[in-house]
Amino acid sequence: MNTVEEILDFAIDREQQAADFYSNLAERVSSAWMKDMLLGFSKEEMRHKGKLKSVKLGDKLLNADQHVQDLKIADYTVDVEPAEDISLQDALIVAMKREKAAYRLYSDMAANIDDPELKSLFLGLAQEEAKHKLYFEVQYDEQIMRDN
Amino acid sequence: MQNWPSQIGYFMLNLTIVGLYGMLLSGIVARTLAKVQGRIGIPLYQPFLDLAKNLGKRTAVSHGVMFYLGPVFRLAGGIGTLAFVPVLYGSEIFGNFSMAGDLLLAMYFMFFGQLGMALGAGESGHPFSAIGIARGLGQMTAYEVPFALAIIAIVVQYDTLSITEIVAAQQGGIGNWTVFTNPLAVIAAMIAFLGMTAYPPFDVVMAPNEIPIGPPTEYHSSYLAMMTMNQAVFAGAKLILFMALFFGGATNLVELVIKTWAIYMVAVVVGAAFPRFRVDQSIRFFLRYPTLIGIAAIAYTQAVLLP
């Protein structure tokens, strides 16, 4: 992965994988409303993918400097197995943690690279993932920890 | 009367000047009274605006011919008075129709206007008019007594019925003015003057409280305007007459303005200070002290001045 194009392809691929992950899970779950929700997550990932595609086509730019709030909810929740009887709470935890992992991945890549252009690209991707994570964290905060 | 067309032209000029002056004077007096009352008062040109407004209005009532003629008589009285009073002594232009017996004519016209007014107002049928006329004629008759006595006194004193000659006799220094030569007559006349100008305490005829408006109750629009014009002309004529008879007349317009204004202020000064007499009280008043003073003036003239 040495060119911008390759990196973006990699990222687009990751988003696709995530979308597939959620739609597969949605097939399997038994809980009444989880299916709808997981398909919603999947759509969300496809939206991210679409955004990266337009970055690749040069229609959009990634902003590496923005500050995205980190609620740090994902950091202290336990790991959850995506099982058939997954609850809403657990699904959100899974989502948060996936986005967090993606964020870490891009951040690490940025740290290990010297090319300023690529570095900035990785940082931009990391911020994107941070934003996605924030979305799930906010939902967790609102839907699960209503009383906390 | 040699050159009567120009005489008439000069008279028209006099009439205009005196009329305008009379209007202005009413504005000045209004402002003066306002000052006493703690107000700023109307602008000086306000009487002209009022006149213009009244002239511009139409009428919709009919009270008969005499009613319409009332203001005409009234105005005729004012103009008539002015016609025989020389405005400026020794001036051809401002001499008017001065002649041998003009004093009598002037006095006649002063009375005539009131009577005409009385006829017209009486025709309106309004009780306030009728009461006002009764009061007005009663009071007029009363103040005419001291006024007539004062006139008799000075006629005796100057031995003439011509105003111009009376003025001529007073020329040559302030000491020659009637007011100094025959003060009793002037006092009687000035008290009568208070009655004529209808300022308090002798304003019961048109008192706004004791019966609203009085004789002119029913008059409006151009009738009212005609009466306002008469008031101006009449006031001017009266003042000039008093000035001529008692205060040495005037030889120029400035002197005229100062003197007439001062004479008028006598009524204003008294007017601001007093409430008004009821009509029976004012009649009683005029027939008491002023009449006595008038009689005394004649006696004084006969006894002191003539020998």
């Binding site: - | 009352q37 703690g38 019961v204 004791e210 009821r278």
Partner: protein, 378 residues
């Protein structure tokens, strides 16, 4: 004095029937006098009211107790405050609410200022009725100075709507006392001028002395109160005889006269104005500067006053002013009756006094009784 005036044969042609009013500058408000005259002499007088009837007493039955509070001041236009006070007092009496001491002082100040303003207007009125309009302009201007005070104290010049059941509507504005003292000084100075110009005036004396004499024995049967009564030699004043508000803590003298004519009535009022200024100065000096000015009130929106009835009276500028109220425990009053002195003074008394006077004296006579037609027709 109780017999009706003798009948008059109008068709004889000796008499003229003359209507004075209902719009007439000699009457403070709308009422009319039906005069029958012979020459300038009035031989018969009938009083007519009804030109100003707004039905306040009935209106008030259809309004809640708080909603009546803006209504009552309109019963006597030149003196709204007495109505406000009395209405507040009857409601307070029936509900058992007690207005705090500070409010009582402010109310007294208010009432005496109102009395002074009303007298000033009256003083101008008596001058103007007899043709002395200069005094009228002066006094009305000084009344306006008092209205300025009312404006800053209450928010309005005429309909103050300030004395509300339970207390007053607000504290006195900053620096009010000084401005009030200043106005009192100016009014006092003016009064001395008026004394010189009006009361020491030959024409005024000629007009007013002997005019409208009220015999002493007529006073009680005709329900004559206030200065009219005191000018007839009675030493009666509710402020002394049945003190309300803080009048028992104020020093003032009762003014009386014996002549009982228009001049005496004017002179009594003139001296009462001085007493009023004296009282106002005491109020300003001794009024409490803090503390509540309103009692604890229930929610006025649905204020139910317990069933009961009461009559409360106060000495207004014209005499005894009273409110009689009956309540039935609901949110509306059952009946209210307003006793205004103008009713007795302007109707029956005027019919008697007018006979034998001159037409020109009617306006002055009417003013000398100090009546306000609006309060006749509640």
């Amino acid at each position: 004095m109780f017999e009706p005036n003798p009948p008059i044969d109008l068709s004889s042609g000796k008499y003229l029937k003359l209507w004075q009013g209902p719009q007439h500058p000699g009457i403070t408000g709308n009422m009319s006098l039906e005069l029958i005259t012979r020459g300038d002499e009035v031989v018969d007088c009938k009083t007519h009211v009804g030109y100003l009837h707004r039905g306040f007493e009935k209106l008030m039955e259809r309004r809640t107790f708080i909603q009546n509070f803006p209504v009552v001041c309109r019963i006597a236009v030149p003196e709204p405050t007495f109505n406000e006070y009395l209405y507040a007092a009857v409601v307070e009496e029936l509900t058992g609410i007690e207005s705090p001491p500070r409010a009582e002082w402010i109310r007294t100040l208010n009432l005496e200022l109102m009395r002074l303003a009303s007298y000033l207007m009256w003083l101008g009125g008596i001058g103007a009725a007899f043709g002395q309009s200069t005094v009228y302009q002066w006094t009305v201007t000084h009344r306006d100075y008092i209205l300025d005070l009312f404006e800053e104290m209450t928010g309005a010049r005429i309909y103050h709507m300030y004395i509300v059941p339970g207390g007053v509507r607000g504290r006195l504005p900053e620096g009010f006392e000084d401005r009030c003292r200043d106005v009192l000084n100016r009014v006092e100075k003016l009064l001395h001028d008026v004394e010189k110009v009006l009361f020491n005036n030959v024409v005024f004396k000629t007009r007013t002395k002997g005019l409208g004499h009220i015999p002493k024995e007529m006073v009680d049967p005709y329900g004559i109160t206030g200065p009219n009564q005191r000018a007839a030699g009675f030493s009666r004043d509710l402020r002394k005889d049945a003190p309300y508000l803080v009048y028992d803590q104020l020093e003032f003298d009762l003014i009386t006269a014996t002549e009982s004519d228009t001049y005496a009535r004017s002179w009594v009022r003139y001296l009462e104005m001085h007493e009023g200024i004296r009282m106002l100065r005491q109020c300003l000096d001794r009024m409490p500067q803090d503390g509540p000015f309103q009692a604890k009130m229930p929610n006025v929106l649905h204020w139910e006053v317990p069933a009961g009835e009461t009559y409360i009276k106060a000495e207004c500028t014209r005499g005894e002013y009273g409110y009689y109220m009956v309540t039935d425990g609901s949110e509306y009053l059952r009946r209210v009756h307003v006793r205004g002195p103008s009713y007795t003074h302007a109707i029956a008394l005027m019919e008697k006094l007018a006979v034998g006077t001159n037409i020109a004296d009617i306006a002055g006579l009417m003013v000398s009784l100090h009546t306000y037609p609006p309060e006749i027709e509640r």
